[in-house]
Symmetry: C2
Subunit: 249 residues, 2 copies
C-alpha cells in the first residue's frame, strides 16, 4: 500500500521528536536501513507506517512490505522528518511496546536506573542488557525517555526486546522485600568479591550525583569497580556494563 | 593578565574545531567549569589562554589565575567560541601534550584501537583507561581525532593523563614481536577463561566492522565477551571496558 505524504504527515512525524506527543500517540520513530530492517524481521506488527525512498523500496523484500502502510518520499522530505544528521533512506513510525505492569520473570537480575539523564547512555545500557540477557529495566520517573531518538539510535535493535518501565522507585523497591539490592557506588565491596544469586536487583545512579539518598536506603550492599588509575569516575553506561559482566558469566 | 578579546581571537578559536588547524597550531580546546578547574589544578602549564565570564573569574582562585593569560568575555562571545550546546562560563586553549615516540612503560597492558570512528566512544575509552591505569593508547591513523570537542568532553579530565599515539598499526605491531596480542572479536575464547600476564596488547576494532584483516593477522588470541541475550554486538566503548575490567583486577 503506497501513499503520498502530506504536509500534515510531515508535521505529525516532526511532533514525535517530543516526549509529550509520543506518549499521547503511543508511537515513536525508528530510523535507518539497518534498524528498520531488523524491525521488519522481528516486529513487523509494531510498524504503523514506513516512509522510504524509492531506492530503499526497490531493494527491499516486496512481499514483506506488501502488508505495511508505506509512503515513498524523496531525500528532501526525508531530511525534514528525520532527526539524524545523515538520514538513511527509511523511517518507521512504531507502536510503543505494551509494557507489562510487572517483570517478565521474577528469577533473574533486574536493572534499576535512578535518574539517568543522558539519552545515549540509556540506549547503550539497553543494548548491553540485551547482550547479557537482562529482560527488565526499571527507571525512576525522572530518567530520560527511552523513546527519544538518541536513545533509540544507541539502543540499536534492542529497544523492543527489553521490558522498560518508569515507576516511583521507592514504591517499587518497597514491593521487593527479600530481594537483595546491589547499589553501584564509588566506595563499596569490590565487584570481584561478591557472589550474586538471582533474583537480585542492581541499581545504577545518575551520571553526576550517583544514587539518590532515598533509593540508596534500599541497598543491601554497595558494590564498586576497583580503580587502578586516576579517573574520578566511570561513565554510567560503562559502569553498568562492567558490573553486569561480573554478575552474569 | 586580563585582555580584551578581538574578532580575530574569535575566528582563531572557532578554527580549532577543525583537526587541520588544531594540528597546525598544536593546541585544542577544553570547556566548562569542571574540566577547566581540573586543568588548572593538574596541568596549569599546558594552558595557553583562558576565556572566561567575569562571574567565573570572581569565583576562582585569583592567585593561581594570575600567571595564566586570561580574557574576560560575555555570554554572547562565549556562545560564539564554544562548541557546546550549553556553554559553561569558561574555555581554555590548551597545548597538545607532547607524546613520547614510544610507550611510557613497557611492562603493562597497551590498548590498540583500529579505526574507532565515534568521538564519544573514543572519549569514553580514554576515561575508562584512566580508571584502570592503562597508560598507553595506540590508535590507527584513521581512528577519530582525540582532540575533537566531543572526545574531549566525554574523556573528562583523563585526556591529558593518557599517552595517545596515532601510528601505522602494521608497523607498530610488527615491532612488538613476542608480546601477546589479544583481539576482541564476536567469536573467540571467553574473557573469563584467559589469564593475561603483562606486557600484553589488547586490540579493539571499528564499531561496525571490527578489526581489519591486516591487523587481525597479528592476533595471538581472539577473545570474546560471552553473550546471554540477543543483541547483535556491544558498543565499542562498552566492549573495551568489560575486557579491561577482566584483565585488570
Amino acid at each position: 500500500m503506497k501513499n503520498l505524504i502530506t504536509k500534515s504527515d510531515v508535521k505529525y512525524i516532526q511532533s514525535l521528536a517530543h516526549k509529550k506527543f509520543r506518549e499521547e500517540e503511543g508511537v515513536f520513530v525508528i530510523e535507518g536501513v539497518k534498524m528498520v530492517g531488523e524491525l521488519i524481521d522481528e516486529f513487523p506488527d509494531s510498524i504503523v507506517h514506513l516512509y522510504a525512498t524509492q531506492n530503499w523500496v526497490d531493494e527491499n523484500r516486496q512481499q514483506e512490505l506488501a502488508s505495511i502502510p508505506l509512503s515513498i518520499i524523496d531525500e528532501i522530505i526525508l531530511s525534514k522528518i528525520s532527526q539524524l544528521k545523515s538520514p538513511n533512506q527509511v523511517l518507521a513510525v512504531v507502536k510503543m511496546p505494551i509494557q507489562p505492569s510487572h517483570e517478565k520473570t521474577s528469577s533473574e537480575i533486574i536493572l534499576v536506573l535512578d535518574q539517568i539523564q543522558d539519552p545515549g547512555n540509556l540506549g547503550t545500557i539497553i543494548r548491553t542488557c540485551d547482550w547479557f540477557g537482562i529482560q527488565n529495566i526499571i527507571c525512576s520517573l525522572d530518567t530520560v525517555d527511552a523513546y527519544n531518538y538518541k536513545t533509540v539510535q544507541s539502543a540499536k535493535g534492542s529497544l523492543l526486546r527489553i521490558n522498560i518501565q518508569y515507576v516511583d522507585l521507592k514504591v517499587y523497591l518497597s514491593s521487593k522485600k527479600g530481594v537483595p539490592v546491589y547499589a553501584a557506588a564509588l566506595e563499596g565491596t569490590s565487584i570481584h568479591k561478591i557472589d550474586v544469586q538471582p533474583p537480585a536487583i542492581l541499581v545504577i545512579g545518575n551520571e553526576a550525583n550517583g544514587i539518590s539518598t532515598d533509593v540508596m536506603a534500599f541497598a543491601t550492599q554497595k558494590v564498586t569497580i576497583p580503580k587502578f588509575g586516576r579517573a574520578e569516575s566511570l561513565n554510567a553506561g560503562i559502569a553498568t556494563a562492567i558490573i553486569l559482566s561480573n554478575l552474569i558469566k
